[in-house]
């Protein structure tokens, strides 16, 4: 399957996570009180344009979603036009940027299969069904003063709204945007507009995206004043690095996961992370996530 997550041997990240809302007694607090109620728009497409290599940028008029969406939440985009055939399942997409005043949300999509190809074929003026905001976004702790955002490829799209949310506050953002090549690195524009403290764009071409080099760079950079929170998306290897850095700095680590989805709302049970031992269903990525706390089951934290 097409997944922006790198895979590696060992326990997948999806089996090492716990829901953000999970309380000590294990009872989930899905659909927590603080979450905006999802709605839908047959949103007018305002901008639809290719972006970098194999990406596509969409700006949609979706006022209610633009107003309430929290960082790291996502939407479901229906690729079938009204009255026309098309994929029966909508596509989950992170909100890459939003403008609550203009009532718009931005989506950056990697064109990988039939659904994303169709989404990219929408022309300005057409209407696209968008349902959201959905899921548990990234949680910024009240005492956090510095956040490290570590995204790879299209995964960076889940992190950009964290920077938007922190713009103009006293929370400092250090962002790493990784990608295979310069035209595969996304997010720089949003990060810059949000005034992040430091932005590292690293690519495989130059070797700068290598985990060891990244670790060296980040520890050199941040050991003096480490972040209280680390947020990541788009790569198993990066997620493991974040876990390690989290232990090093005693920082909270949150990761945004992906799964094939049908409803995005928690009722179809299509997106469970994995099989927990025992009769209890494992967390649902759409409703208990997509953002989870990352902690190895074998780790002591």
């Amino acid at each position: 399957m097409n997944t922006p997550l790198d895979t590696e041997a060992g326990i997948p990240v999806r089996d090492s996570v716990t829901p953000l809302g999970e309380t000590a007694d294990g009872a989930g607090t899905r659909a927590g009180a603080g979450l905006p109620a999802p709605t839908w728009h047959r949103a007018r497409v305002l901008v639809s344009t290719p972006y970098g290599r194999g990406y596509h940028f969409l700006r949609l008029e979706a006022p209610s979603i633009a107003r309430t969406c929290q960082a790291g939440q996502f939407v479901m985009l229906t690729a079938a036009r009204d009255g026309d055939d098309g994929p029966v399942l909508p596509r989950p997409m992170a909100v890459y940027g939003r403008d609550p005043r203009a009532g718009t949300i931005d989506i950056l999509l990697g064109v990988v299969g039939d659904g994303t190809r169709r989404l990219a074929s929408f022309r300005p003026g057409e209407r696209m069904l968008v349902v959201g905001p959905l899921g548990q976004g990234f949680r910024l702790a009240p005492r956090t003063r510095r956040v490290l955002l570590l995204g790879r490829g299209i995964g960076t799209c889940s992190l950009t709204t964290v920077a938007q949310e922190c713009a103009g506050t006293d929370v400092e953002i250090v962002a790493v945007a990784s990608g295979r090549s310069a035209d595969r690195v996304v997010g720089a524009d949003v990060y810059r507009a949000a005034g992040v403290t430091r932005l590292h764009e690293v690519t495989d071409d130059t070797g700068a995206s290598d985990v060891t080099r990244l670790r060296d760079m980040l520890t050199a950079d941040l050991d003096q004043a480490p972040p209280q929170q680390i947020m990541t998306c788009g790569s198993e290897r990066l997620a493991r690095l974040c876990e390690e850095l989290g232990r090093r700095w005693a920082a909270d680590v949150q990761v945004s996961l992906e799964a094939h989805m049908a409803c995005g709302l928690g009722y179809c049970h299509g997106c469970a992370t994995g099989t927990r031992s025992g009769p209890e269903e494992s967390p649902l990525i759409c409703a208990d996530g997509p953002v989870f706390r990352l902690s190895r089951p074998d780790a002591d934290r």
Partner: protein, 325 residues
């Protein structure tokens, strides 16, 4: 961030407009499943609906709501991936995770009841005995009907679905009927040589209605990984792709039994509903269409009213089973 407080009409969500909209032509869409009267023939398919949809469509307008299949015991369901897509269809191998009957009665059912429309509780089991147990556990529970999902694999008999054998269906359904005062709808599997035989077995056993049908077995392969896409290997196909097959099964089942047939499979427009009704269906269930568009069911209700008007149909029930072949 500043909250934008804009209450001008333009700021109304499409969702708000959909809630405000109403059927306009007064077509009589009412139908009966035995003693159970429904305001209209549209209800969700089991597993493709949840209280989570409350804010996205006016659920109180539906003919009924149907729960995900409930097992007596808590179950975790299948490994991932549980979903994938195909040409105008989807495959699922969710595998019926279940909170178990106690938790269901305590926390889930009340949320279904709150919609103020008839609640159909779908029940399942992995052995004949489990169907009887769950029925007993639901004996004192307030709901309007049970839907017996006989597509679950029969673990006592090699995993073929219980619903593939007429004698087993008759035994299971008789047992359920004997243990409840509620109308019993039997949801058949399409994966049989003769749907009429199984429908007759259900009727014989005292079923109030049959739902035709559950998903069709299918498979998807990930070429790059050289593995099945679904964690379970195979899954159930649903969506528009299966509609012509289901339409024919509905037509066959309606010819085989006198009890009402509830059509289920690929319905996504008002035209689809009317085709199912012409083929002999009394009501329909919609599953996959709700994933594509959460408001699909109530949109279909409004469109159905208009379509009947256009075709000169004042009472939906009048045209049931009237297709000429």
């Amino acid at each position: 961030m500043t909250e934008v407080q804009d209450h001008s009409p333009a700021a109304l969500d499409d969702r708000d407009r959909h809630f405000a909209d109403h059927a306009a032509y007064g077509t009589d869409l009412g139908v009966s499943l035995g003693a159970l009267r429904l305001a209209n023939p549209v209800m969700p398919a089991s597993g493709c609906f949840g209280p989570e949809l409350a804010g996205l469509l006016p659920v109180h307008e539906l003919g009924a709501v149907v729960t995900k299949t409930l097992f007596s015991q808590r179950r975790s369901g299948n490994p991932s991936h549980r979903l994938t897509e195909s040409a105008q269809g989807m495959l699922n191998s969710v595998g019926i995770p279940s909170p178990g009957s106690a938790e269901f009665i305590r926390t889930v059912l009340p949320r279904y009841r709150s919609f103020g429309v008839p609640v159909v509780v779908s029940v399942g089991g992995l052995a004949e005995e489990e169907y009887l147990r769950i029925t007993e556990e639901l004996a004192d529970v307030r709901c309007e009907a049970l839907e017996v999902n006989v597509s679950c694999p029969n673990l006592e008999h090699g995993g073929l679905a219980i619903g593939t054998d007429a004698a087993t269906v008759e035994r299971v359904v008789s047992g359920v009927v004997a243990r409840t005062s509620l109308p019993v709808i039997v949801k058949l599997t399409p994966n049989v040589t003769s749907i009429g035989d199984i429908a007759r077995a259900a009727e014989q056993a005292g079923a109030t209605a049959v739902t035709v049908a559950n998903t069709f077995p299918g498979m998807a392969i990930d070429l790059e990984g050289r593995s099945a896409v679904l964690g379970n290997g195979v899954g159930g196909l649903s969506g528009p792709a299966v509609r012509p097959m289901v339409l024919r099964l509905v037509w066959q089942a309606a010819a085989a039994v006198r009890i009402p047939v509830v059509g289920c499979g690929g319905v996504s427009t008002a035209r689809d509903v009317l085709e199912f009704v012409l083929a002999g269906a009394t009501a329909v269930q919609m599953g996959t269409a709700t994933f594509t568009r959460p408001y699909a069911m109530t949109q279909v209700l409004r469109d159905l009213d208009a379509l009947c008007h256009e075709l000169g149909i004042a009472r939906l029930a009048d045209v049931r089973g009237t297709v000429r072949t």
